[in-house]
Symmetry: D2
Subunit: 388 residues, 4 copies
């Protein structure tokens, strides 16, 4: 860690609010640098500037951003860069940006296709170890195990990361209904803390309010078990009131029709306040977050953090910039209650408010989820389309 | 113009499809570089990198982007950069990016607060002339007069720009209901062509399908009048089925609650096809457009243009990248009819589909619209809130 | 006419507001007496009590109801009662109920399948004449030609009815877009007045506000032509913002999924006021109207009519009855502005706000519309389902 | 009981499906015979014909309807008929209609304002006893205690009714969240069965699917407790996905803006099937039900019941009557999958899908709920409107 920087646990133990950055891959996909489907952020390697621009833009927003180069597995796909190359490039990039401010760099691991395909604990742990080695070489500030649908695999990851001596955060990508094996959300947190995680929470898969609710269940269970932890939340920037336990992956709009679900900056104010009230102190974002969403989180908590984000120079609080608009009826929107009370129309009269998510009910070990290297065959397609 | 580049009229006369770039200020506002309200893109001066990144990202998408440094008036506000400084910086930036590819640089002028405040034709034309001088000094490739609510003012602008000898395009920011003085949309186009514009169309204020409908009315009227022109369209990337003649400014969601209205990439395919079918050949975007929207327009017209945009390397057509997804039901979305038929849910059960726009019915000359330099007073606010 | 009763023209000439009754067949279908599809109200013959109950219930509402036994053709179907039998029974029923109060009885004719099948003017007029004979025998108070999609056929009907010497009203079932042959709404009215109708308007097919808009266009055209008439309107009690020129028949919800579109009593207040303001004085309802809808129309115009409907004894104006509710938050709804401002939720998060109507664009003479006596064949079904 | 009629328990023990009638008061309010607010069905006394017509219409639908004269307390209000008079008249009416077919007559008691005002068990039981005396004098076939928000009061009612020797059914007006004192839904059922009820379930306050879910929880709990019972459900005919524990009373649309929530006949098919599958055998309806809704329930279960309702003579199953429609695209709707898959549009683009219910969180004993005889004072109104 750069000399003079406080570590993540030091910050949280001191009661600081830490704000995490957001939706790297989704944001880069919309800018043309990442391909949806495999989602591998090889952009860090092939287009280092693109990732830097994005994290830089985020950093511009406030000073404590935590860019998080996340190591995804060598995904099913045809890209030629190895996972290690990608991760090394990502670390360098994150460090460069972080050093411009007071930010930290985290190394990330997430769930493996190998687990879904029923590989052994030894095999899966070996994968995490290999990723950890890269992050240790690059001397990241702390480790995050995140995006796990099964607490068993998350425990394995925490056990591997814990051995590094770095602080470890662990996030499930679940909501209030628990993990894919039916383990309750609270129980997941208890097991992760027992496995060694100092920070627990959820990321991705659900909208902010749902994620906060899930972390609240985690906190209650951890406290009831007589344990201690810090809490973090990194939700989607998409409204998902209609998701079942598998989250937004199952929505018919995933991943190319999610636009109408994007949160406004005012939704983010409400989210930040709710997360803070519940006792979460590491508050960030995941897929769908743009810099202005992170800025809104930081603005809502400006008093608690004692600092307004740098980017607020270009943002009047609660629409204050509109005071200078030409039309008087737009000028009148320069006030908090206007935006707090607004229920924004979808502009889509042929579209419903909610969708029916897929609900296949398959998970680890099911034939439908086994890794295969080929693209969808027409026989597979028929199988899927016929699925009730 | 850089040697070897074809001019805008050469391209259009040859039957090429030209694709224009998109929503500079809205995109930069969300990234923290521009303040909503005054909307002045002084970012070109204060954060040249930010604008460059955005246009660069757009250029990455395809090779014929037309970055358009637009000269807004010295807006009501407190910024200290003069309009000329802003425009010079913007021109340099646009030229630098354009030169990396085959793009052109346009200089833009738009409606003036002076016109709304009933200044004389001489005074208003002097403003346009001053802006033109900067663009001539920087030797832009052609001129665009755009974002005019009153055809009378647009004619003045065209007359000024025409004197430069550069090709002139002219866009009204109106829909099918005509301009703010009640001049029909078709008649507006006829008058602009007679004033000397070689390209006419609409930009901003309405969604793509509404704008295409308006340009179709323009084309019909111009042809009926026995005149000739090229046609362009640069709509919002927001659905606006509920707008009255003043467009999205009057929607209660403007400008900070528009998220649910954002078009998907599939909406953009439909838009590009419809614009092409109607006979429009300069097809672009305005507020709300992100690079992936422009890419979708270029992908839809790949056959007609004989080229797939560069950024499509990272984008399977019609969701093809999903063929490699882990979940079989997501793999099954790698097909055109899935995305064409999807009616994406808003994810907002408490929000309606349409809004009631403000409808003050005031325009040029009304006291409520006179320029004043102060922010909204509480008396003004009361006047507005009480307005029926 | 019963001695002492004023005729329909006397009433209208005196400036009275006449309120028509409503949706006979739809209401009886929901009560189990009429079969949807053929829609033939043979209930008047087979279940005279059912019709009497309904009209009686309406009459209970106010004193000037105009029960209107409508003569439909011997519809495609298997019922065994002749049209004449049905009409005679209906007339007796209507007269009995009308005599209990100050109501009038109208005889009605509507468009014929023969016209759609391109039968001659002579043949179609003979059908109207045969129907008229029954109504003359029963001595109805006036005649209504209604539910015509083509003004040509409506003119034929008016010409036949006019010969009876009874006052004649004529309603098209069209909206602001004109008739199925493209004759403008205003022109339709002018032609009907010239054919002899003393009252013109529209009925069925569109929602109240759309119908009022159409009648306004009729009134403007009639006055512009230097003619004189009274105006009537009998809209649906369903919201139809999404209809094309053919009205609610083309909506996917027709006829068994229209529930979410049903107007509230407060919608009816707004309708009655708007109709009155536009200058319509014969204000009624068609499919979907229930007695409480008619009551709301009568309550809105209580001052203008100088009388509150009888049924208002059981109805506090603007929710006044709620003042006695147990829960204080329900008591607080006993006020006009609460109900006027309410935007009632659909309670259907999976349903959109609007539908895409069918738009076959076929009309009189098209093979698809020729009468045939058999139910849909599977070949026909395929043809329909495949229709783009 | 009429000789030869089987009692309610005989029927249920034999595995028969019993279908209950529906929304007496809401239906009569829309026909002008009952005043909303006090809701007292004094119509049985003042307009006996109106009630008879409605139950008669229902009876017309099928042969096993169970008209249920329900004894409401002498409500806050100004009507002059005593509760006993109302109940006697209602019993005579119900018996007359029931005797025309194979229906039974039930006597009903429901929650008392006295309980909310904290009167003693002795006082509240005396009220139920007084009501029971009337029903015993009229020799009803069985007793129903229904519309209870607190299981404690429901137990008191069951204890009183049980003494009569008549079969006793008991319904809470709660959903899956339990009663107003926080007693779980399952526990409520167990306590009611222990108090002596042979049939338990829920009525009113929630939509069909929510009510079925609640009864399923009751059944599971009763079986887990080793007890036995029959199950009944009488839900609203309004969709209420947005209700909290207090049900539709708290919705902003209650009671005069509920139209967009009305279930279609196809919704009723799904409800009847789900209720049957869950093991409920007494399936009926409450507020909002019209005869065609009851018919749809009976049609869905025609095979299980071995009989099609009489009124189906006028109703082709799954829209079969449309096979004879003039327009081919309407003919094509004469099929089950069309109606099953339809997601009907609301026709209300300015209205959301769901509402935010009031959530005062007050119940028995709270000052806001104490009985008082006067209408809302302006001070009360202010208190309510200011309520957060």
């Amino acid at each position: 860690m750069a000399p003079g920087k406080k570590g993540i646990l030091e910050r949280l133990n001191a009661g600081e609010v830490v704000i995490g950055d957001g939706g790297f891959v989704f944001a880069l996909e919309k800018r043309g640098y990442v391909k949806a489907g495999p989602w591998t952020p090889e952009a860090a390697h092939t287009h280092p500037e693109s990732g830097k621009k994005y994290t830089h833009t985020c950093r511009h927003i406030f000073t404590q951003v935590i860019p998080k180069p996340q190591m995804h597995m060598k995904a099913r796909g045809t890209h030629t860069h190895t996972g290690a190359q990608v991760n090394e490039a990502a670390c360098d990039l994150a460090r460069e940006v972080a050093n411009e401010g007071d930010a930290l760099v985290a190394g990330g691991v997430s769930q493996t296709p190998s687990y879904l395909s029923c590989k052994s604990e030894t095999e899966v742990k070996a994968i995490f170890k290999k990723q950890l080695d890269v992050f240790m070489k690059k001397n990241v500030d702390f480790m995050i195990a995140e995006y796990f649908e099964h607490v068993e695999e998350a425990e394995w990851a925490v056990q591997v990361l814990k051995a590094s001596g770095k602080p470890v955060a662990a996030n499930m990508c679940i909501g209030p209904e628990g993990d894919m094996h039916g383990v309750s959300t609270g129980e997941c947190a208890v097991r992760l803390v027992k496995a060694g995680a100092q920070i627990v929470g959820v990321n991705c898969h659900f909208d902010p309010m749902t994620c906060v609710k899930a972390v609240k269940m985690m906190k209650d269970a951890v406290e009831k078990a007589g344990l201690k932890a810090h809490y973090m939340v990194q939700p989607l920037a998409f409204h998902t009131p209609d998701c079942n336990c598998q989250g937004f992956i199952d929505l018919p709009e995933f991943p190319f029709g999610l636009e109408p679900r994007i949160l406004t900056r005012w939704d983010m104010h409400a989210y930040a306040r709710e997360a803070y009230n519940v006792g979460i102190r590491y508050i960030g974002g995941c897929c769908g977050f743009e810099p202005y969403h992170i800025r809104a989180v930081a603005e809502e908590l400006a008093t608690e953090r004692g600092i307004l984000p740098a980017a607020s120079e270009k943002h009047g609080m609660w629409g204050a910039g509109l005071e200078m608009h030409t039309k008087p009826w737009v000028r009148a929107r320069a006030r908090r209650d206007y935006w707090e009370q607004l229920k924004p129309a979808s502009g889509r009269p042929l579209c419903p408010s909610m969708s029916t998510p897929e609900g296949w009910g398959v998970t680890k070990g099911h034939a439908d989820l086994l890794q295969h290297k080929e693209a969808t065959s027409s026989q597979e397609m028929k199988h899927v389309v016929d699925h009730p």
